[in-house]
Amino acid sequence: MIKAYLGVDIGSISTKGVILDENNKILASKYIWTEGNPIGAVKNLINELETQIDINKIKIVSIGTTGSARKLIGVVLNASVVKNEITAHAIGTTSIYPDVRTIFEIGGQDSKIILIEDGIVVDYAMNTLCAAGTGSFLSSQAKRLGLEIEELGDIALKSKKPTNIAARCTVFAESDLVHKAQIGHKKEDIVAGLCKAVVTNYLNNIGKGKKIVSPIVFQGGVSKNIGVIKAFEDITGQKVLVDPNSHLMGAIGVAILARKSGQEIEFDFNVKNIEFTTRGVECHKCANNCEIICIYRGKYLIDAWGNKCDNGAIPIKNH
């Protein structure tokens, strides 16, 4: 029996899972859409991963979760480690690129920069109030142009003269893009301009004031877009590395953290057949009216959160 570790990264747009052995070798991996239903997505993910391995030879002994739904999925999967995506990404990337200095990460809704020295995170920044220049922006603009998100990169590469598109704010960028299309700019130029706008926006907001030192590794869903990679290289003047598994770094990182935690909890692939439900209740004990989310496994309450103070705490019984 081989001991294995499951890492799950549940982002706003996509859900990623990997199974690693004790030497960080990937035994199975899967990337699917979250589609606003993290619990359902994780069940599908577990199902897919199960088909990739021989469960008579491989035994999952520990689970880690990361991404914006990490807490919820951590409860569902009974994870040993629930970790924020910044730490998870840094751990995942340094396991493959030990001498990395800068990580660019652009996901569906978040974008971040992580600076690393000797394998340790020394500084990071993450977008704050708005999702300008992230994957969701690119996908909505692709739709507007009647393109598939996967095609954007190759189309952008065809352009010789990228259109200038205002990068500061998504709303401005969108109207700029519409105007330029209407006055006759070529589609490939607009797409290339869009990729450039994502990069300028990223470097001006997230990367502002940060010293960008190579080796640079670029990851997150948007790193699959070759147009954005090229724009990054053009603007920074440095080589930008993209791992074939760049979309899995968070999941890899958190699987490693699960292994390092030393905490082994039995896992059953049957979890995909158990019904998990959530219910939102308003507390009403003060004017905050906190919305408390209760998580049930079958009919049993297994966790609850969302209360700002102890008045709204819901006691959990062990089942």
Partner: protein, 356 residues
């Protein structure tokens, strides 16, 4: 004539000295508005211009909640940024909403001029003599200084308390008693009793705990709801939390500007408005004291604090100290904030281990 009921929106625990001063020197009652909640923010945002900073919205909500409790005199202390124009706007919005009240706008007077202040408050006059007023004023100043001192101590230790909530319990008891003190002597006695209680409260502090400092904009850093109780979140992770910004270190610090300019030499030449210079001076101090990290807090769009940020970057680079930046508006979701704080905690923990 019925006694007037005066009020000012919640601001940390400072409603207690405000209440003390006003009820003691004027012939008025003080209405303490309910603690800031989501409702305060909703009321405030509903009637505010969208792009105004969050403190404006919180205060407007606070005024409305005070009016609902029967307040009929409101005051606005103003400030050294856009805040000094907020009084007029608050008053206008509240009048348009149909509320009846009197409004005292500090922006219209010089708070360091006793005559000016006296004239403004004459109408709510008490029968106290000038020396009696001065005595009460001095007690109030002393009270604020004591509170600031005790809160500093709590911030640095609450993360290590053995009994959950013990520091808060002691401090709340102090606040309850301090409202009723009669003399400076009584105040001092109370302070020494409770400061001792705080010091004697059982803590389990490691030898070299993680230390993080908070710097940033006046209102958002001091009103805990508006920064999502960040100090508490940090302390819960087992860290020493330091925040220099308070009333003692601003309003009561005579010669502040001159001294601050000296402190920030090499990083800043001019005053950049409001508390921008304080932010830089405090960050520099924390960096020199080898803190593990700094968190910069501001309301979205706060210009002086935005101006301070490039300087903070320089400090961060020169002293190799990580700085995390937060901008708060009216969003109430905590997920994003928790993610960033968690990552920050992981980072400074790993950095510390590496530098051992």
């Amino acid at each position: 004539m019925a006694k007037k009921k005066i009020s000012f929106p919640q601001f940390g625990n400072y409603c207690i000295p405000f209440e003390y001063l006003l009820t003691n020197i004027l012939n008025v009652d003080y209405i303490i508005p309910p603690p800031t909640t989501k409702r305060t923010l909703e009321l405030g945002s509903m009637h505010s211009p969208d792009f105004v900073c969050a403190p404006f919205k919180y205060q407007l909500g606070g005024y409305i909640e005070a009016l609902e409790l029967g307040a009929d005199v409101l005051f606005q202390v103003g400030g050294v940024c856009r805040l000094c124009y907020y009084g007029e706007l608050h008053e206008r919005i509240l009048r348009d909403l149909g509320y009846k009240f009197e409004f005292i706008n500090f922006s219209e007077l010089d708070i360091y001029s006793p005559i000016d202040v006296y004239n403004k408050f004459k109408k709510y006059n008490s029968k106290l003599s000038a020396p009696a007023i001065a005595t009460k004023l001095l007690i109030c100043i002393e009270m604020v200084k004591m509170m600031d001192e005790m809160e500093n101590f709590i911030r640095e230790n609450v993360g290590f308390e053995v009994n959950n909530g013990s520091f808060d319990n002691i401090y709340n008891e102090f606040l309850e008693h301090v409202r009723k003190v009669k003399s400076k002597k009584e105040l001092k006695k109370l302070y020494s009793i409770y400061y001792k209680k705080l010091k004697d409260n059982e803590v389990m502090k490691p030898k070299k705990p993680l230390k993080v400092g908070l710097v940033g904009e006046y209102y958002t850093i001091m009103e805990p709801f508006s920064n999502h109780f960040m100090e508490k979140e940090l302390a819960k992770k087992g860290m020493v939390v330091t925040r220099t910004m308070n009333i003692s270190n601003t309003v009561f610090w005579l010669g502040r500007e001159k001294e601050l300019k000296k402190k920030v030499k090499g990083y800043l030449k001019y005053d950049i408005g409001a508390t921008g210079i304080d932010t830089i001076s405090e960050a520099l101090e924390l960096a020199k004291k080898k803190y593990d990290g700094i968190i910069h807090i501001k309301s979205f769009g706060c210009t002086p604090e935005i101006d301070a940020m490039p300087v903070l970057q320089n400090i961060s680079n020169d002293y190799k100290i990580p700085i995390l930046y937060f901008s708060f508006d009216t969003q109430t979701s905590e997920t994003g904030i928790k993610t960033r704080l968690e990552a920050f905690y992981d980072m400074i923990t790993m950095r510390k281990e590496k530098n051992k």
